[in-house]
Symmetry: C2
Subunit: 192 residues, 2 copies
């Protein structure tokens, strides 16, 4: 399950709450060249690596998808997917639209969810509230949202994050509903 959405929309908070409620889900830890934010743990929030190491890994085809976002590299290591598959677990990937489109090409089984803010104005407020961005960076993020928004019909579902419990409930429903797709049920149905 791929979760995308503009910077500041609250993807991280939603994913964390989702994982607490749905025990069958794991989250994929991305690799990035950006600096850790306060409180972020290497190997848990991200794998933090240097630009050189990242590009070396790109050359070695170690990423399922990778993209450059706001000047930093982000990628999903193949090892994250393999680990989940081996354990028979479903995986949540919190990635941007560029990465999502790469996953969509490679995995027909993927389920794609785009998180929308209640409005553009509310998104601006949330980015400001985070307090980590300068005015220029806020502007860039809002412009980027316009670009990401163009991909919205490439997604299977759109969830408006107006309240965290409601949005989590919706993503949970999407997960449960997707588990009821005919090909996923028929595999395990013992009646025929």
């Amino acid at each position: 399950m791929v979760i995308s959405g503009p910077s500041g929309v609250g993807k991280g908070t939603l994913c964390k709450a989702l994982l607490e409620e749905v025990k069958d889900l794991s989250i994929s830890v991305s690799m990035t060249t950006r600096e850790p934010r306060k409180g972020e743990v290497d190997g848990k929030d991200y794998f933090f690596v240097s630009r050189e190491e990242f590009l070396e890994r790109v050359k070695r085809n170690e990423f399922v998808e990778w993209a450059q976002v706001y000047g930093h590299y982000y990628g999903t290591p193949w090892s994250e997917l393999k680990n989940a598959l081996e354990k028979g677990r479903d995986l949540v990937l919190e990635i941007d639209t560029q990465g999502a489109m790469q996953i969509k090409e490679k995995f027909k089984e993927g389920v794609f969810v785009f998180i929308l803010p209640p409005s553009r104005e509310e998104l601006r407020k949330r980015i400001l509230k985070r307090g980590t961005e300068n005015p220029d960076s806020v502007k860039k993020r809002l412009e980027n949202f316009q670009e990401e928004f163009k991909y919205i019909f490439e997604y299977d579902y759109v969830v408006v994050n107006d309240s965290i419990p409601d949005a989590v409930e919706k993503i949970k429903s999407i997960y449960m509903a997707e588990k009821c797709r005919p090909h996923r049920i028929i595999k395990s149905w013992k009646g025929e």
Copy 2:
């Protein structure tokens, strides 16, 4: 939302429970030529009409879909859909695979759910338990299930009715998830 499934699988019970939990949903009342079962109310469970009247209404194009099942006619009156649409309500149609395929051709917006029993053996038990069918009729219903099963991949979702609360929860999730389809969200999103 169209709900199909073999005779005896528990569609009626699930629909009733679903409607109690999801207040935005109404159920479409079908018209039929079969005799009312004990406790069934005309205009609530079905509109009971004679064979002559039913066929007259078929001629007048009064049905969205209609089919003959176990020797009786069943149909969904257009008026049921119009009423729901006018009130802006979502509608549940509990109909057989023949009717479902007619709806699928006419309504792209339809969401199609097939209810499966945990096993064929369990379905046999449930039909017997209902106590309204003779051995020949039980046999016919089980054979018919084989036919209906062929349509399973025409459905969007399959729910195994192993426990009523679990199955209702799944159908509710399907309904909530479908409400999050991009074209349904973008219509009402005020942010752009």
